[in-house]
Protein backbone atom coordinates (compact mmCIF):
# COMPACT_ATOMS: atom_id res chain seq x y z
CA UNK A 1 0.00 0.00 0.00
CA UNK A 2 2.79 2.37 0.99
CA UNK A 3 4.70 1.41 -2.16
CA UNK A 4 1.65 2.03 -4.32
CA UNK A 5 1.17 5.40 -2.62
CA UNK A 6 4.82 6.30 -3.29
CA UNK A 7 4.56 5.31 -6.95
CA UNK A 8 1.35 7.28 -7.33
CA UNK A 9 2.96 10.33 -5.72
CA UNK A 10 6.11 9.87 -7.85
CA UNK A 11 4.08 10.12 -11.04
CA UNK A 12 1.84 12.90 -9.72
CA UNK A 13 4.59 15.26 -8.49
CA UNK A 14 5.36 18.16 -10.75
CA UNK A 15 8.59 18.24 -12.77
CA UNK A 16 8.73 21.99 -12.27
CA UNK A 17 11.87 22.67 -10.13
CA UNK A 18 10.31 25.84 -8.72
CA UNK A 19 7.47 23.85 -7.16
CA UNK A 20 7.78 22.39 -3.66
CA UNK A 21 4.32 20.97 -2.97
CA UNK A 22 2.74 17.56 -3.64
CA UNK A 23 5.77 15.46 -2.72
CA UNK A 24 6.59 13.19 0.23
CA UNK A 25 8.30 16.09 2.04
CA UNK A 26 6.74 19.12 3.71
CA UNK A 27 7.11 22.08 1.29
CA UNK A 28 9.47 24.05 3.50
CA UNK A 29 11.83 21.07 3.91
CA UNK A 30 11.90 20.33 0.20
CA UNK A 31 12.57 24.01 -0.46
CA UNK A 32 15.39 23.95 2.10
CA UNK A 33 16.94 20.86 0.51
CA UNK A 34 16.72 22.31 -3.00
CA UNK A 35 18.25 25.61 -1.90
CA UNK A 36 21.15 23.78 -0.26
CA UNK A 37 21.76 21.57 -3.30
CA UNK A 38 21.67 24.58 -5.61
CA UNK A 39 24.14 26.40 -3.35
CA UNK A 40 26.45 23.36 -3.36
CA UNK A 41 26.45 23.29 -7.16
CA UNK A 42 27.06 27.04 -7.45
CA UNK A 43 29.98 26.72 -5.04
CA UNK A 44 31.34 23.72 -6.96
CA UNK A 45 31.13 21.31 -4.05
CA UNK A 46 30.07 18.61 -6.51
CA UNK A 47 33.52 18.86 -8.11
CA UNK A 48 35.40 18.66 -4.82
CA UNK A 49 34.60 15.16 -3.56
CA UNK A 50 37.77 13.43 -2.34
CA UNK A 51 39.43 10.14 -3.00
CA UNK A 52 40.24 8.22 0.14
CA UNK A 53 43.18 9.94 1.84
CA UNK A 54 43.84 9.79 5.57
CA UNK A 55 40.33 8.43 6.26
CA UNK A 56 38.76 8.01 9.67
CA UNK A 57 38.65 4.25 9.16
CA UNK A 58 41.67 2.55 7.63
CA UNK A 59 39.54 -0.08 5.87
CA UNK A 60 38.23 2.68 3.61
CA UNK A 61 41.61 2.50 1.83
CA UNK A 62 40.18 -0.35 -0.25
CA UNK A 63 38.23 2.12 -2.41
CA UNK A 64 40.27 2.92 -5.53
CA UNK A 65 41.07 6.40 -6.86
CA UNK A 66 39.86 8.08 -9.00
CA UNK A 67 36.71 5.95 -9.24
CA UNK A 68 35.73 6.69 -5.69
CA UNK A 69 35.40 10.44 -6.16
CA UNK A 70 33.92 9.99 -9.64
CA UNK A 71 31.19 7.78 -8.20
CA UNK A 72 30.41 10.48 -5.64
CA UNK A 73 30.27 13.13 -8.33
CA UNK A 74 27.94 11.09 -10.55
CA UNK A 75 25.71 10.17 -7.59
CA UNK A 76 25.50 13.83 -6.54
CA UNK A 77 24.59 15.01 -10.04
CA UNK A 78 21.96 12.28 -10.55
CA UNK A 79 20.34 12.63 -7.10
CA UNK A 80 20.64 16.43 -7.03
CA UNK A 81 18.95 16.71 -10.44
CA UNK A 82 16.23 14.27 -9.40
CA UNK A 83 15.63 16.25 -6.21
CA UNK A 84 15.36 19.54 -8.07
CA UNK A 85 12.75 17.95 -10.35
CA UNK A 86 10.76 16.55 -7.40
CA UNK A 87 11.56 12.88 -8.02
CA UNK A 88 11.83 10.49 -5.02
CA UNK A 89 12.68 13.45 -2.84
CA UNK A 90 13.20 11.65 0.45
CA UNK A 91 15.44 8.94 -0.94
CA UNK A 92 17.50 11.50 -2.83
CA UNK A 93 17.92 13.64 0.29
CA UNK A 94 19.20 10.61 2.21
CA UNK A 95 21.66 9.77 -0.56
CA UNK A 96 22.88 13.37 -0.97
CA UNK A 97 23.35 13.77 2.78
CA UNK A 98 25.02 10.37 2.99
CA UNK A 99 27.45 11.37 0.24
CA UNK A 100 28.75 14.31 2.26
CA UNK A 101 28.89 12.37 5.51
CA UNK A 102 30.80 9.49 3.91
CA UNK A 103 33.04 11.92 2.01
CA UNK A 104 34.09 13.63 5.27
CA UNK A 105 34.82 10.19 6.72
CA UNK A 106 36.94 9.38 3.66
CA UNK A 107 39.50 12.10 4.17
CA UNK A 108 40.56 14.17 7.16
CA UNK A 109 41.97 16.69 4.68
CA UNK A 110 38.50 17.07 3.15
CA UNK A 111 36.79 17.32 6.54
CA UNK A 112 35.02 20.63 7.19
CA UNK A 113 32.17 21.38 9.56
CA UNK A 114 30.18 22.97 6.71
CA UNK A 115 30.23 19.67 4.78
CA UNK A 116 29.18 17.73 7.87
CA UNK A 117 26.34 20.18 8.44
CA UNK A 118 25.11 19.84 4.86
CA UNK A 119 25.39 16.07 5.19
CA UNK A 120 23.35 15.74 8.38
CA UNK A 121 20.83 18.34 7.26
CA UNK A 122 20.02 16.56 4.00
CA UNK A 123 20.20 13.12 5.61
CA UNK A 124 17.76 14.04 8.38
CA UNK A 125 15.49 15.75 5.86
CA UNK A 126 15.28 12.48 3.97
CA UNK A 127 14.20 10.74 7.18
CA UNK A 128 11.35 13.18 7.77
CA UNK A 129 8.04 11.47 8.48
CA UNK A 130 5.02 12.65 6.54
CA UNK A 131 2.67 14.94 8.47
CA UNK A 132 5.01 15.21 11.46
CA UNK A 133 6.97 18.29 12.57
CA UNK A 134 10.66 18.25 11.56
CA UNK A 135 11.86 17.84 15.16
CA UNK A 136 15.02 15.96 14.14
CA UNK A 137 16.25 19.04 12.26
CA UNK A 138 15.36 21.28 15.21
CA UNK A 139 17.33 18.98 17.52
CA UNK A 140 20.19 18.95 15.01
CA UNK A 141 20.35 22.73 15.22
CA UNK A 142 20.15 22.58 19.01
CA UNK A 143 23.01 20.06 19.20
CA UNK A 144 25.12 22.09 16.80
CA UNK A 145 24.74 25.31 18.78
CA UNK A 146 25.23 23.48 22.07
CA UNK A 147 28.45 21.85 20.84
CA UNK A 148 29.74 25.14 19.50
CA UNK A 149 28.87 27.01 22.70
CA UNK A 150 30.33 24.35 24.99
CA UNK A 151 33.62 24.14 23.12
CA UNK A 152 34.05 27.90 23.23
CA UNK A 153 33.13 28.07 26.90
CA UNK A 154 35.82 25.52 27.74
CA UNK A 155 38.51 27.25 25.67
CA UNK A 156 40.47 29.64 27.86
CA UNK A 157 41.18 31.94 24.89
CA UNK A 158 37.44 32.44 24.43
CA UNK A 159 36.86 33.18 28.09
CA UNK A 160 39.63 35.79 28.20
CA UNK A 161 38.89 37.39 24.81
CA UNK A 162 42.31 36.37 23.46
CA UNK A 163 40.64 34.57 20.54
CA UNK A 164 38.97 37.63 19.03
CA UNK A 165 41.79 39.98 19.99
CA UNK A 166 44.27 37.84 18.05
CA UNK A 167 41.84 37.07 15.23
CA UNK A 168 40.89 40.69 14.58
CA UNK A 169 44.42 41.98 15.05
CA UNK A 170 46.55 39.41 13.21
CA UNK A 171 44.48 36.86 11.30
CA UNK A 172 41.82 39.15 9.90
CA UNK A 173 42.88 42.71 10.81
CA UNK A 174 39.74 44.75 11.39
CA UNK A 175 39.75 48.53 11.21
CA UNK A 176 36.51 48.66 13.25
CA UNK A 177 38.07 46.56 16.03
CA UNK A 178 41.22 48.71 16.02
CA UNK A 179 39.03 51.75 16.67
CA UNK A 180 36.70 50.17 19.22
CA UNK A 181 39.18 48.07 21.24
CA UNK A 182 40.83 51.02 23.10
CA UNK A 183 37.43 52.17 24.41
CA UNK A 184 37.62 49.57 27.18
CA UNK A 185 40.71 48.49 29.16
CA UNK A 186 42.63 45.32 28.34
CA UNK A 187 40.86 42.86 26.06
CA UNK A 188 37.39 43.73 27.33
CA UNK A 189 35.92 44.48 23.90
CA UNK A 190 37.15 41.12 22.60
CA UNK A 191 35.99 39.47 25.81
CA UNK A 192 32.48 40.89 25.40
CA UNK A 193 32.39 39.66 21.80
CA UNK A 194 33.47 36.16 22.86
CA UNK A 195 30.98 35.92 25.71
CA UNK A 196 28.10 37.31 23.65
CA UNK A 197 28.66 34.55 21.08
CA UNK A 198 28.92 31.87 23.76
CA UNK A 199 25.67 33.06 25.35
CA UNK A 200 23.93 33.39 21.97
CA UNK A 201 24.90 29.83 20.99
CA UNK A 202 23.74 28.34 24.28
CA UNK A 203 20.48 30.34 24.10
CA UNK A 204 19.84 29.21 20.53
CA UNK A 205 20.54 25.60 21.54
CA UNK A 206 17.90 25.73 24.28
CA UNK A 207 15.36 27.71 22.27
CA UNK A 208 15.49 25.42 19.23
CA UNK A 209 14.07 22.63 21.43
CA UNK A 210 11.08 24.72 22.55
CA UNK A 211 8.13 25.37 20.22
CA UNK A 212 7.28 28.78 21.66
CA UNK A 213 10.85 30.08 21.55
CA UNK A 214 11.90 28.66 18.18
CA UNK A 215 11.32 31.90 16.26
CA UNK A 216 13.59 33.63 18.76
CA UNK A 217 16.18 30.87 18.28
CA UNK A 218 16.16 31.65 14.56
CA UNK A 219 16.64 35.34 15.34
CA UNK A 220 19.55 34.66 17.71
CA UNK A 221 21.20 32.13 15.38
CA UNK A 222 20.84 34.40 12.36
CA UNK A 223 22.33 37.28 14.37
CA UNK A 224 25.44 35.22 15.14
CA UNK A 225 25.93 34.14 11.53
CA UNK A 226 25.17 37.51 9.97
CA UNK A 227 27.48 39.17 12.51
CA UNK A 228 30.24 36.70 11.63
CA UNK A 229 29.71 37.28 7.91
CA UNK A 230 29.95 41.03 8.28
CA UNK A 231 32.97 40.78 10.58
CA UNK A 232 35.14 38.79 8.20
CA UNK A 233 33.26 39.54 4.97
CA UNK A 234 33.01 35.80 4.37
CA UNK A 235 30.34 33.17 3.90
CA UNK A 236 32.31 30.20 5.31
CA UNK A 237 31.84 28.16 2.14
CA UNK A 238 28.35 26.71 1.93
CA UNK A 239 27.84 26.99 5.69
CA UNK A 240 26.18 30.40 5.79
CA UNK A 241 23.66 29.61 3.05
CA UNK A 242 22.98 26.12 4.45
CA UNK A 243 22.42 27.20 8.03
CA UNK A 244 20.13 30.06 6.99
CA UNK A 245 18.24 27.63 4.72
CA UNK A 246 17.91 25.19 7.63
CA UNK A 247 15.81 27.79 9.47
CA UNK A 248 13.11 27.13 6.88
CA UNK A 249 12.35 24.03 8.96
CA UNK A 250 10.93 26.41 11.58
CA UNK A 251 8.64 28.21 9.13
CA UNK A 252 5.02 27.03 9.08
CA UNK A 253 3.82 26.55 5.52
CA UNK A 254 0.22 27.44 4.61
CA UNK A 255 -1.96 25.27 2.40
CA UNK A 256 -3.48 28.40 0.91
CA UNK A 257 -3.05 32.16 1.09
CA UNK A 258 -5.56 34.77 -0.03
CA UNK A 259 -4.27 38.08 -1.28
CA UNK A 260 -5.83 41.27 -2.54
CA UNK A 261 -4.28 44.41 -3.97
CA UNK A 262 -5.41 47.98 -4.43
CA UNK A 263 -5.97 49.42 -7.86
CA UNK A 264 -2.83 51.57 -7.93
CA UNK A 265 -0.19 50.60 -10.52
CA UNK A 266 2.48 49.74 -7.95
CA UNK A 267 0.36 47.14 -6.18
CA UNK A 268 -0.76 45.70 -9.49
CA UNK A 269 2.90 45.19 -10.40
CA UNK A 270 3.43 43.41 -7.06
CA UNK A 271 0.52 41.14 -7.92
CA UNK A 272 1.88 40.35 -11.38
CA UNK A 273 5.39 39.74 -10.00
CA UNK A 274 4.33 37.29 -7.29
CA UNK A 275 1.71 35.74 -9.55
CA UNK A 276 4.51 34.89 -11.96
CA UNK A 277 6.82 33.49 -9.26
CA UNK A 278 4.17 31.49 -7.40
CA UNK A 279 4.49 28.20 -9.30
CA UNK A 280 2.68 26.21 -6.59
CA UNK A 281 -0.42 28.40 -6.96
CA UNK A 282 -0.41 28.86 -3.21
CA UNK A 283 -1.64 32.45 -3.36
CA UNK A 284 -5.21 33.06 -4.48
CA UNK A 285 -5.67 36.62 -5.69
CA UNK A 286 -9.02 38.33 -5.16
CA UNK A 287 -10.58 40.20 -8.06
CA UNK A 288 -11.77 42.99 -5.80
CA UNK A 289 -9.46 45.43 -3.93
CA UNK A 290 -9.39 45.22 -0.11
CA UNK A 291 -12.53 46.74 1.42
CA UNK A 292 -10.56 48.72 4.00
CA UNK A 293 -8.60 50.54 1.29
CA UNK A 294 -5.29 48.83 2.08
CA UNK A 295 -2.82 48.57 -0.81
CA UNK A 296 -2.09 44.89 -0.19
CA UNK A 297 -3.61 42.30 2.14
CA UNK A 298 -2.67 38.69 2.79
CA UNK A 299 -4.78 36.15 4.68
CA UNK A 300 -3.80 32.73 5.94
CA UNK A 301 -4.63 30.56 9.01
CA UNK A 302 -7.39 33.09 9.85
CA UNK A 303 -4.72 35.78 10.22
CA UNK A 304 -4.70 38.92 8.13
CA UNK A 305 -1.73 41.10 7.28
CA UNK A 306 -1.70 44.33 5.33
CA UNK A 307 0.84 46.67 3.74
CA UNK A 308 4.51 45.87 4.38
CA UNK A 309 3.69 42.86 6.57
CA UNK A 310 1.64 41.38 3.73
CA UNK A 311 4.52 42.02 1.35
CA UNK A 312 6.84 40.29 3.83
CA UNK A 313 4.46 37.32 3.86
CA UNK A 314 4.53 37.11 0.08
CA UNK A 315 8.34 37.14 0.15
CA UNK A 316 8.48 34.48 2.86
CA UNK A 317 6.03 32.07 1.21
CA UNK A 318 7.22 32.35 -2.36
CA UNK A 319 9.80 29.58 -2.98
CA UNK A 320 11.27 31.30 -6.05
CA UNK A 321 12.52 34.12 -3.80
CA UNK A 322 14.77 31.62 -2.00
CA UNK A 323 16.15 30.33 -5.29
CA UNK A 324 16.98 33.89 -6.31
CA UNK A 325 18.55 34.52 -2.89
CA UNK A 326 20.79 31.45 -3.06
CA UNK A 327 21.83 32.34 -6.62
CA UNK A 328 22.91 35.76 -5.39
CA UNK A 329 24.50 34.51 -2.15
CA UNK A 330 26.56 31.69 -3.64
CA UNK A 331 26.96 32.55 -7.30
CA UNK A 332 29.80 35.06 -7.01
CA UNK A 333 33.54 34.76 -6.53
CA UNK A 334 36.31 37.20 -5.68
CA UNK A 335 35.35 40.85 -5.31
CA UNK A 336 31.77 40.10 -6.38
CA UNK A 337 31.43 37.80 -3.38
CA UNK A 338 32.72 40.52 -1.04
CA UNK A 339 30.08 42.95 -2.33
CA UNK A 340 27.33 40.32 -2.04
CA UNK A 341 28.31 39.28 1.50
CA UNK A 342 28.45 42.92 2.63
CA UNK A 343 25.12 43.73 0.98
CA UNK A 344 23.35 40.57 2.15
CA UNK A 345 24.80 40.96 5.65
CA UNK A 346 23.59 44.54 5.84
CA UNK A 347 20.11 43.63 4.57
CA UNK A 348 20.03 40.76 7.08
CA UNK A 349 21.07 43.04 9.92
CA UNK A 350 18.38 45.58 8.98
CA UNK A 351 15.72 42.83 8.84
CA UNK A 352 16.82 41.47 12.24
CA UNK A 353 16.80 44.93 13.76
CA UNK A 354 13.40 45.66 12.21
CA UNK A 355 11.85 42.46 13.58
CA UNK A 356 13.34 43.12 17.03
CA UNK A 357 11.93 46.66 17.06
CA UNK A 358 8.53 45.45 15.84
CA UNK A 359 8.45 42.83 18.61
CA UNK A 360 9.48 45.45 21.16
CA UNK A 361 6.72 47.76 19.96
CA UNK A 362 4.15 44.96 20.33
CA UNK A 363 5.35 44.26 23.87
CA UNK A 364 5.24 47.95 24.78
CA UNK A 365 1.70 48.27 23.32
CA UNK A 366 0.55 45.23 25.28
CA UNK A 367 2.11 46.69 28.43
CA UNK A 368 0.44 50.09 27.89
CA UNK A 369 -2.93 48.49 27.21
CA UNK A 370 -2.88 46.38 30.38
CA UNK A 371 -5.82 46.95 32.70
CA UNK A 372 -4.93 49.39 35.45
CA UNK A 373 -6.56 48.86 38.82
CA UNK A 374 -7.57 52.18 40.38
CA UNK A 375 -6.21 52.78 43.89
Amino acid sequence: MALADSIERFSRSSWNPLRVTDTDLPPQLLLMAKVVVLGLVLKNYHLGFPDVFAPFFEWMEIFPAPWYRRAFKVAFIVCGTALLFNRAVRVNCVILGGLFLVATLSSKVYYRNAKVFVGVLLFLTGLQEKGKPPWMIWWQLAIMYFGAGLNKLLEVDWRTGQYFDHFLTHIYPSEAYRLIAPLLPGQWVAKLMCWSIILAEFSAAVMFTMNRLRPMAVWVGASVHIGAALLVVGDYGIFMAAVLASYLSCLPWPERLDAATGTRGGWQRVRRFFGMLDQDRLIHWADQPPKDGAGLTLTGWDLRWSGWKALGGLLIWTPAIYFIAVLVLTGFDGSGRVVVVRLAGTVGAVVLLGTALAKLRTLVSAWSARPVIAP
Partner: protein
Protein backbone atom coordinates in the same frame (compact mmCIF):
# COMPACT_ATOMS: atom_id res chain seq x y z
CA UNK B 1 9.34 3.56 16.72
CA UNK B 2 10.03 3.55 12.99
CA UNK B 3 13.39 2.71 11.47
CA UNK B 4 13.66 6.32 10.23
CA UNK B 5 13.39 7.65 13.76
CA UNK B 6 15.97 5.15 15.03
CA UNK B 7 18.45 6.09 12.29
CA UNK B 8 17.85 9.83 12.84
CA UNK B 9 18.25 9.55 16.59
CA UNK B 10 21.47 7.59 16.05
CA UNK B 11 22.88 10.40 13.89
CA UNK B 12 22.02 12.92 16.61
CA UNK B 13 23.34 10.67 19.40
CA UNK B 14 26.70 10.18 17.64
CA UNK B 15 27.20 13.93 17.64
CA UNK B 16 26.44 14.14 21.36
CA UNK B 17 28.99 11.37 21.98
CA UNK B 18 31.58 13.27 19.92
CA UNK B 19 30.88 16.50 21.85
CA UNK B 20 31.54 14.62 25.10
CA UNK B 21 34.60 12.84 23.65
CA UNK B 22 36.09 16.19 22.64
CA UNK B 23 36.30 17.05 26.35
CA UNK B 24 38.80 14.23 26.85
CA UNK B 25 40.71 14.30 23.55
CA UNK B 26 42.28 17.05 21.42
CA UNK B 27 40.34 15.96 18.30
CA UNK B 28 37.45 18.20 17.26
CA UNK B 29 35.76 16.07 14.60
CA UNK B 30 31.96 15.94 14.35
CA UNK B 31 31.54 17.98 17.54
CA UNK B 32 30.77 21.42 16.11
CA UNK B 33 33.89 23.37 16.94
CA UNK B 34 34.43 25.39 13.77
CA UNK B 35 36.60 28.48 13.91
CA UNK B 36 37.12 28.01 17.64
CA UNK B 37 40.91 28.38 17.48
CA UNK B 38 43.29 29.87 14.97
CA UNK B 39 46.38 27.67 14.59
CA UNK B 40 49.22 29.20 12.58
CA UNK B 41 51.53 26.34 11.67
CA UNK B 42 54.49 25.34 9.55
CA UNK B 43 55.51 21.81 8.60
CA UNK B 44 59.18 20.78 8.27
CA UNK B 45 59.97 17.27 7.07
CA UNK B 46 63.28 15.42 6.68
CA UNK B 47 63.82 12.17 4.81
CA UNK B 48 67.26 10.58 5.29
CA UNK B 49 68.56 13.92 6.52
CA UNK B 50 67.32 15.86 3.46
CA UNK B 51 64.72 18.55 4.00
CA UNK B 52 61.63 18.34 1.82
CA UNK B 53 60.71 21.47 -0.09
CA UNK B 54 57.44 23.22 0.62
CA UNK B 55 55.92 21.74 -2.54
CA UNK B 56 57.07 18.23 -1.55
CA UNK B 57 55.56 18.62 1.91
CA UNK B 58 52.28 19.87 0.47
CA UNK B 59 52.16 17.03 -2.03
CA UNK B 60 52.98 14.38 0.57
CA UNK B 61 50.47 15.48 3.21
CA UNK B 62 48.00 17.43 1.03
CA UNK B 63 48.25 20.24 3.54
CA UNK B 64 49.32 23.80 2.87
CA UNK B 65 52.34 25.10 4.74
CA UNK B 66 52.70 27.63 6.25
CA UNK B 67 48.98 28.01 6.84
CA UNK B 68 46.27 28.52 9.42
CA UNK B 69 44.00 25.74 10.59
CA UNK B 70 40.84 27.27 12.09
CA UNK B 71 39.69 24.13 13.90
CA UNK B 72 42.46 22.44 15.89
CA UNK B 73 46.14 21.71 15.30
CA UNK B 74 45.27 18.07 15.97
CA UNK B 75 43.73 17.86 12.49
CA UNK B 76 47.15 18.70 11.00
CA UNK B 77 49.17 16.35 13.21
CA UNK B 78 46.59 13.58 12.81
CA UNK B 79 46.90 13.71 9.01
CA UNK B 80 50.71 13.77 9.11
CA UNK B 81 50.95 10.80 11.45
CA UNK B 82 48.42 8.82 9.37
CA UNK B 83 50.20 9.55 6.09
CA UNK B 84 53.63 8.55 7.41
CA UNK B 85 52.32 5.51 9.25
CA UNK B 86 50.14 4.12 6.44
CA UNK B 87 51.40 5.48 3.09
CA UNK B 88 55.13 5.90 3.70
CA UNK B 89 56.22 2.99 5.82
CA UNK B 90 59.26 2.56 3.53
CA UNK B 91 60.36 6.19 3.43
CA UNK B 92 59.49 7.56 6.84
CA UNK B 93 59.98 11.25 7.49
CA UNK B 94 61.01 13.10 10.57
CA UNK B 95 58.43 15.82 10.87
CA UNK B 96 58.31 18.91 13.03
CA UNK B 97 55.20 21.06 13.15
CA UNK B 98 55.74 24.46 14.74
CA UNK B 99 52.52 26.20 15.64
CA UNK B 100 50.91 28.94 17.68
CA UNK B 101 47.30 28.79 18.82
CA UNK B 102 45.46 32.12 18.98
CA UNK B 103 48.76 34.00 19.04
CA UNK B 104 50.00 32.08 22.10
CA UNK B 105 53.53 30.74 22.64
CA UNK B 106 55.18 28.78 19.83
CA UNK B 107 54.95 25.03 20.29
CA UNK B 108 56.35 22.04 18.48
CA UNK B 109 54.98 18.63 17.60
CA UNK B 110 57.26 15.85 16.38
CA UNK B 111 56.78 12.72 14.32
CA UNK B 112 57.68 10.03 15.07
CA UNK B 113 56.52 10.90 18.53
CA UNK B 114 59.35 10.56 21.06
Amino acid sequence: MSIRIIVGLSVLAIQVVMIVAARFHPMRYYCWAPYDSQNEYQIHALINGHALSRAQVESRYRLETPAINPRTIYQVTDIISYVDRVYHEDDPAQVTVTYRTNGGPEREWHWPTP
